[in-house]
Subunit: 332 residues, 2 copies
C-alpha cells in the first residue's frame, strides 16, 4: 500500500449508512460495512459506530495514507459542514457532523448533501465524466438533485441549491410531507409513482395485475415489475410519470443548459418505459435552440457506489488546485 493515498467516502441514508476506502482511480478498495442509521439516536453514537466500522479498513491501508473523509448526507450543508433539520434522520436540528467526524477521526472532513455527492461521483467516475455542465436527478423515496455548472457544483447563497424535487411542475397533487401543491417529487419519486398507480387503478376498467394488491402493497417496485411484464395500466403509470418528469426537465434545461441530465435511483429500473415518454415531453417543452441537444442518460454507477465515490471525491478537491473555468466571466 506504501506510497498510495486514499480517501474515505461515506453515504448517509435514512435507512443505512455505507462507506468505503477509495483510491485515486475511483475504486472502492475496501468497504466500511453497513450501519443502520436510524438506530443511532444521537449523532455522537453514530460517529462512534462509524469509526468502529471503518477502523479495520483504515488500518489495512495505513491510517497515515488517508487524506480525509467525504460525507454525503440528506440536508447536508457544504458551507457549514452541518446536517440541518433532516426529516429522514434521527438527529434533530443542526448537527455539526463534519466537525464531529474531524475530531473523532483526526482527519479533515468535507460534507455535502447526498444528491450533490452523487453528482460529483457521476462527474468524476460515471456517465458525466468530462462534462462541465450537467444535472443529476436522484429518483428514489424522494427526488434529489445535484447541479453542476461551468465545472462546479451549484451550492447557492446558503448551500441549499438544487432542491429540484420541490419545484412546482403540475398542480393538483399535494405533497404528503411538504404540503406543496404539485411538486416534482409528488409525482416522480417512488412514493409518487405508487400513488399514481393507485389513482389510475381507481378508474381503470381493463385487466391489470395490480388489482390483486391492496393499496399499501402497491409500490413503485411492483408497478415497475408489472410494467416490464407488459401490464398496460402499469405502463400507463410510467407514461404519466415520464410526461411530468419531461416537463420539469425542460424547465431545468432552460435554466442551466446542461450537456446531459443523468437519472439515478431505483425508479430508473423501468428503463425505456420511463425514458421514452420523459424524452418526448422534455423535447416538446423546449425552445428550438435547445431541442435535440441535451443527453438524457441513466446513471452507470451502482447506486450506493456513486454516493460513496462522490463523497470521497470531496477529499481530493480539498487538496488539488481548482480547475480554471475559462469560459466563465466572473464578477468582482
Amino acid at each position: 500500500m506504501n506510497q498510495q493515498t486514499f480517501a474515505i467516502g461515506v453515504d448517509i441514508g435514512g435507512t443505512t449508512t455505507k462507506s468505503g476506502v477509495v483510491n485515486h482511480r475511483g475504486e472502492i478498495i475496501l468497504e466500511g460495512g453497513i450501519l443502520p442509521t436510524a438506530k443511532y439516536t444521537t449523532a455522537e453514537s453514530f460517529v462512534e459506530a462509524l469509526s468502529q466500522a471503518l477502523m479495520p479498513a483504515m488500518e489495512k491501508v495505513g491510517v497515515d495514507n488517508i487524506r480525509g473523509i467525504g460525507v454525503g448526507a440528506p440536508n447536508g450543508n457544504y458551507y457549514r459542514g452541518t446536517v440541518e433539520h433532516a426529516p429522514n434522520l434521527p438527529w434533530r436540528g443542526v448537527v455539526p457532523l463534519a466537525q464531529m467526524i474531524t475530531e473523532r477521526f483526526e482527519l479533515p472532513c468535507s460534507l455535502t448533501n447526498d444528491a450533490n455527492a452523487a453528482a460529483v461521483g457521476e462527474g468524476m467516475y460515471g456517465a458525466a465524466r468530462g462534462m462541465k455542465d450537467f444535472i443529476v436527478l436522484t429518483l428514489g423515496t424522494g427526488v434529489g438533485s445535484g447541479i453542476v455548472a461551468g465545472g462546479g457544483l451549484v451550492y447557492g447563497y446558503d448551500g441549499f441549491a438544487g432542491e429540484l424535487g420541490h419545484t412546482i411542475v403540475r398542480r393538483g397533487r399535494k405533497h404528503w410531507s411538504t404540503g406543496l401543491d404539485g411538486s416534482l417529487e409528488a409525482y416522480t419519486s417512488a412514493t409518487g409513482i405508487a400513488l399514481t398507480a393507485r389513482v389510475l387503478l381507481d378508474t381503470w376498467v381493463g385487466p391489470s395485475q395490480l388489482r390483486g394488491y391492496r393499496g399499501e402493497e402497491i409500490t413503485s417496485k411492483l408497478v415497475c415489475e408489472c410494467a416490464l411484464q407488459g401490464d398496460e395500466l402499469a405502463q400507463k403509470v410510467f407514461q404519466f410519470t415520464g410526461e411530468v418528469l419531461g416537463e420539469a426537465l425542460a424547465n431545468f434545461v432552460m435554466f442551466s443548459s446542461p450537456e446531459a441530465i443523468i437519472l439515478f435511483g431505483g425508479v430508473i429500473k423501468a428503463g425505456d418505459l420511463l425514458m421514452q415518454p420523459t424524452r418526448k415531453h422534455m423535447e416538446k417543452n423546449l425552445l428550438p435552440i435547445f431541442q435535440g441537444k441535451v443527453k438524457l442518460l441513466f446513471s452507470e454507477l451502482k447506486e450506493a457506489d456513486a454516493a460513496i465515490l462522490g463523497a470521497s471525491a470531496l477529499v481530493w478537491e480539498r487538496k488539488e488546485e481548482k480547475l480554471k473555468i475559462e469560459a466563465l466571466p466572473v464578477l468582482k
Copy 2:
C-alpha cells in the same frame, strides 16, 4: 485623460442600440449616441455605423486608452461571440459579431446576451453589488434572465443558459411566438400583461378606465398607469401577474438558491402593486429552508445604463485575474 483606461459597452436592442465609454469606477463618461438597430439590414452596415457613432467619444479619451469592447445582444452567445437567430434583429442566421467588431475597431470584443449583460451590470454596479449568487430577471417586451452562481454567470454547455422567460409556469396560455403553452413570458412580459388585462376585462362587470380603450390600445404601460391611479381591474392584472411570477421565482430559488432576485425593466414601474403579490406567492411555494431568506429587489440602475455597464464589464474580466470561487468544489 492620460493614464486612465476605459472600456466601451454596447447594448443592442431590437429597436435601438446604445453605447458608451465607461471608466473603471463604472461611470459612463461619454455616450456613443443612439442607433436605430432595425435600420441596418446587414451586420456589416451596423458595425460601420457603430464605429462612426463611437469614434468622437473614443478620440476624446484617446483610442490607445481603450482596452476593449463589450457587447450585450439578444441571443448573444458568449462562447462563440455570435448573435444566433435573434428574432428581433434584422440579421438572419448566425452572425460572428464579436469578430466583425474586433476587425473594424482593432480592439478585443466580448459578447453576451443582453440579460446576462444586465446581470453583470447589477453585480458590479447595481443592486447585486458584492453578491455571488443572484438572478436578474428583465421584464420588458420579453422576459430575459441572467443567472449568477458562485460568482460566475451560468452559461451552460452551449452558452444559452438562463432562458427563464421560457420555462413553463402555468398551462392555459400559448405563447404568440414560441408556441409553448404556459411560459413565464406569456404572462409577465409587457405583452403578457396587456393580454391579461384584455382577458380580465372581458368578464369584468365593475367600472374601469381600461374600458375606454380598444384592444390593441391596452398596453402594459397603460395598465400600469391606471393601476397606480387606483383602477381596481388594472390592479387585479398586477395581482395575477405577481401570482404567476412569484410561483416561477419559487422554482428558481429551489434551483440555484440565490441571495437575491433583481427585477428589471419597464414592468417594474408598477412598484408595490407587482412586488407585493410576487413576494407573497414566491414565499408560499418555497420549502421552509428557503422561506424569508431571498431578497426580492428592483433594479437600481437606469435601464439602458445597466446593459452598457454590464457589457463594458466583460472587457475588464478579460484582463483581470478570475475570482477564486473558494466555496465551490470543482470537478476534474
